[in-house]
Symmetry: D3
Subunit: 127 residues, 6 copies
């Protein structure tokens, strides 16, 4: 596979219904719950791209553009956005979909950096 | 959109890493956790197809073909598989992906039936 | 013990209060949460009957007869309903009890099939 | 029903498999998880006895007699043990069952006190 | 360090926002959730004081003085309150803080007893 | 109170034991779990400083300097680090403490930005 094909093949999605166990007292998705899901989708994307042991190094700025109301559906999409020697970046976007209309809007964006390590915790190539 | 396009557009995916908070004492994904995720992906698929209030009526036979070890990745895929007047069926498949190889196998299959209701809890057309 | 006595002795119950962390946006118990609990009670029933390693093979049709409102109590009851050579079936019923009356109704019914395995993952007799 | 019959009818049981999401770093059931379950079974017992709004007032001494290893089954049993005018006590016992033997031992005992209140939060008779 | 300095240094705090995933059907913090957090803060306090393996032996009477409404903040404070040879006691207090005022009140108090054990599960000195 | 006194008074701490329900398949704290806790401590810090409705706007770069092994204790500390007109920044640090030694090291650092809003969702002064 080419790099582009590997990027496409490693794209990773998580849909989730915003039920009460994920919300705060404003009846919107708690930011921390969103970040938890973002790191999970980013980690899976990075692992599926490299098929190596990946460790989170950092998250870049995450923008919470709009609140996510209870009773909506969210989709997280993780995509490899930059490939270094021993590290790569995954961009994660969260979209809100209203349940009972076709409205869909981007709500949160962020980027996560991972490094690939071997079993001795030494950095290795991501490719 | 045609029905086929709506089926395609409502296809719903959830990736998940099999971490210790989802496993049983055999160190494999607990069956109940898998069923929880299957109902969630089925519910979202049904809602995204109809954009109406959907209620789970039943699940048909669910086959747990192979155990899902801790430290793997799973992908759930929900697809509308049958459309009735006020009900529809969603097929859900769970695939295992090993983290550090390209092995991917189907592990669990099931079908869920939903009905569409209005705000007075009366059945309505799914289309 | 006779088989009937073992069936009686392995009957397994789980009561649960339907609090917000178990509900969907309709303010009723999320179907996936119910299935999670059903598999747990079925697994415990099967294990307590055989005292052997049990693995979920399949669930038969599960009927969600009525929604379970937040603020009620549910009781799950698991009972061995069929005994094969290396497999058995457990029937699970969920009853709703209103908190502030003696109303009690059956809400969900399902059947789960398990096989008994030894430490080498070979099927063994359930008896 | 007589009081004794009501006590018998309100006896409440919760079985649970001790999986990794309930354990501490000693690979035994975390004490706080046990207390969470004990309060839940006590609350349900009290509510099923009175069919009134019950509020936890206190827990008496809880003895953790023996650790509960991962990979066992526990049963919690709640029983009304004392009936006052506007309050009652529920005794909760937790038993460990090994999965692959008939060994069963008491592990934890405690007593919880509840008061009955009406919709204006005034104390009312528990009977 | 003197004992008093060690007590001060091992004081342990947990703040938590009371969101829907922690509440009961009265829209107040579920008592079992409070007890779970109390045991966690007590365990950490005991471990940070002794830096040895600590096991919960018992909780003394826990008083739930006032209900904790959804949409408030709680602070748990654990403090070593008694030091024996192989055991110690930790007092835990829970305070409610309203989010949008400076009101702060004590809501729950309890005491937990721990013993120190070595790797052979023999009791050892807590000092 | 002066601003400095308010900053000091709003400092917010969460201790947590790293048990299996928070770890990944490397047996270290899952990054997403850390981020969830960081946003919670940041939100509580911001709310306790302003006593107004606070909404997460963004997180700046979060550095995961070292992995956090299972069986350790973490402390999160949130401190207001910058005060604007309608927004403020909270710095969050996570420290690892080994259970059975006095070793303590910083593991993760990040900064979160919040805005204050009134009941009509209009921005208001944070002071």
């Amino acid at each position: 596979m080419t790099i582009d094909e590997r990027i496409k093949a490693s794209e990773t999605r998580i849909f989730k219904a915003v039920f009460p166990n994920t919300t705060n007292h404003y009846d919107t998705l708690f930011g921390g719950t969103a970040m938890h899901l973002m790191d999970e989708v980013a980690f899976i994307t990075a692992t599926r791209f490299t098929r190596k042991r990946m460790v989170t190094v950092s998250s870049d700025r995450i923008d919470f553009t709009r609140p996510i109301p209870a009773g909506t559906i969210i989709e997280l999409i993780g995509t490899v956005s930059h490939i270094g020697n021993t590290s790569l970046k995954v961009q994660v976007e969260i979209y809100i979909e209203e349940m009972y209309s076709f409205n869909r809007e981007k709500a949160i964006t962020g980027t996560f950096t991972f490094v690939a390590i071997d079993e001795h915790k030494q950095k290795v190539s991501v490719l």
